[in-house]
């Protein structure tokens, strides 16, 4: 098993999320960057739906008590195994007693740690994904994040060959990001809203959580507040009265009372999730057809994708 030696509240158990309960107000949860999370399982030959760890912001130390193959993807920084730096995202064999240390991240916000065969964790409402807001998932089923001395048993698994992640699929989270957005047909905004939104850069602010990321641009967007709350899609871009957008992340509430400009594609949402406060993002419109094509390619490639 994996024994946690050092942890923080942004370290949690996730899988691809909790579906089927949105009508009752349950959040989807799941990995903030689902592309990086899918790679962690995929390079071990696992099904991408298996439980793994999401490590937000570094500061994670854990010991493997049994030989296993593990994978590390997503955000990168001072990553060491028994004190030796790991060369990059991918799968590695470890022997019993090895210590994995994820120090300060220099690129990105969330890393993913998977083991061959997956961690054996009891699902709640069909998923192990930790959602603190709903008090669901995680090791105890009550939505707690990982803490020191937690032990995570791994599922017995046959040894499968490890897959390399081709270089072209390795994301760097340093550069300014251009997000793809499916725009919405709506009459709740001033006529220049889309133009304002697409033609300026936005700074990621410190107000970022698993529920949403607040962005900040020079010009605000003028919108009417609707009378009723409406269902929110994952990646939805809400505009509150401040005129500064909020992008809704995995733990978002199911209904919201602010008008929505559009929705980020799932890939762009993961990319945005990896950006830290102060980094710049901008947006470009993408047709729904192109977005679906890309989404289905991910689904086909990974076997599932959410």
């Amino acid at each position: 098993m994996l024994r946690i030696k050092q942890s923080n509240p942004m370290h949690s158990v996730q899988d691809l999320g909790r579906y089927g309960f949105a009508s009752q107000g349950v959040a989807k949860a799941g990995p903030m960057d689902s592309v990086a999370a899918c790679w962690a399982n995929a390079c071990l030959g696992n099904a991408v739906t298996l439980p793994l760890l999401e490590i937000g912001g570094g500061g994670f130390v854990a010991e493997f008590t049994k030989d296993v193959n593990f994978a590390l993807t997503g955000a990168w920084g001072e990553m060491t195994l028994d004190g030796k730096p790991l060369p990059g995202p991918g799968a590695y064999p470890v022997s019993a007693g090895s210590v994995l240390r994820l120090g300060r991240f220099s690129s990105g916000m969330f890393s993913y740690v998977a083991v061959q065969g997956g961690f054996a964790i009891q699902p709640v409402l069909g998923s192990v994904s930790t959602c603190q807001r709903d008090s669901l998932g995680g090791l105890d089923g009550q939505g707690e994040s990982l803490s020191i001395d937690d032990t995570l048993p791994y599922q017995a698994s046959e040894h499968r060959p490890l897959n390399l992640i081709p270089r072209r699929y390795l994301d760097s989270y340093h550069q300014p990001l251009v997000c793809d957005v499916i725009l919405r047909e709506t009459d709740q905004f001033a006529s220049d809203a889309t133009e304002v939104f697409l033609n300026q850069g936005y700074k990621v602010t410190r107000e970022q959580s698993r529920m949403g990321y607040r962005l900040e641009g020079d010009l605000s967007i003028v919108a009417e507040r609707p009378r009723y709350s409406v269902p929110i899609p994952l990646g939805g871009i809400q505009v509150p009265p401040s005129g500064q957008p909020i992008v809704l992340m995995r733990d978002h509430q199911s209904l919201g009372g602010y008008p929505m400009l559009g929705t980020l594609t799932r890939k762009s949402l993961g990319q945005l999730a990896q950006r830290r406060a102060g980094q710049m993002v901008s947006f470009r419109a993408v047709s729904r057809e192109i977005a679906v094509q890309e989404f289905l390619q991910c689904r086909q490639f990974f076997g599932d994708f959410r």
Partner: protein, 234 residues
């Protein structure tokens, strides 16, 4: 095409279906039919769904269904004869509420703002039946409407950080019951004994869901305490 206002893809896997005016009974009947159908039918293309105020949001497998096919399917469902008949009764849920000022901490301010006596506020609240207009926010939370126009008030300017479980509250043209302790900006008028929602590892049992109606039954503080004790775990 008259039954559905519009269908829009809002992301790669999410479709929104506009069903009409959120408080019109016509809309609520459509919602009811669609939700019964969703719950009763195995739909391989459907991953999740959510309903709120005239809008049905469906998370689908875009490789298994197109917007055109979905449009046709929903039309067919809405055209089917209504199955609402014998089980009508179970759709009306009676919920006991204690309107004692111990729980109804905003009754006094509501009375001042609406210029109604406290008793008149309470009576206006329990003397009509409500329908579920939306579910969501947190597990078990349902928006019920419409309340009597004399009770319509905007939400509180400063939301409370903690509202006790079971609190019954009003704001705008709606009333709600808090399924868990959360922050909230609604005006609190009473409390129900026990809980509106229960969990197991496999499921949620929420008493209020799409298609249900609610009738509030006023109870005394003594009866509240008796019922609350009966609900308490051993």
């Amino acid at each position: 095409m008259s039954d559905l206002k519009s269908i829009q893809w809002v992301s790669e896997d999410t479709i929104e279906v506009h069903l009409g005016d959120p408080v019109a009974s016509e809309t609520l009947e459509k919602v009811e039919r669609l939700s019964r159908w969703i719950q009763a039918t195995h739909l391989p293309w459907l991953i999740d769904y959510c309903y709120g105020f005239g809008l049905l949001s469906l998370v689908v497998r875009p490789d298994l269904i197109s917007a055109v096919q979905l449009n046709q399917t929903l039309h067919d469902v809405l055209k089917m004869p209504s199955q609402r008949s014998s089980d009508n009764e179970s759709d009306l849920i009676e919920i006991s509420v204690c309107y004692d000022p111990t729980f109804g901490i905003d009754l006094k301010s509501i009375s001042e703002r609406t210029q109604l006596s406290i008793d008149a506020v309470i009576e206006a609240h329990y003397s009509r039946d409500y329908r579920v207009l939306a579910t969501g926010f947190v597990p078990g939370f349902a928006y019920l409407g419409e309340t009597d126009p004399s009770l319509h008030l905007p939400r509180r300017d400063v939301p409370r950080t903690r509202i006790p479980v079971g609190s019954v509250a009003i704001a705008e043209n709606q009333t709600v019951i808090y399924p868990k302790q959360t922050p909230g900006g609604w005006h609190i008028i009473g409390r129900m004994p026990g809980s509106i929602v229960s969990f197991t590892d496999q499921s949620i049992h929420a008493q209020l869901s799409m298609g249900k109606s609610v009738r509030f039954r006023p109870i005394s503080l003594t009866e509240f305490q008796r019922l609350e004790a009966a609900h308490a775990p051993d």
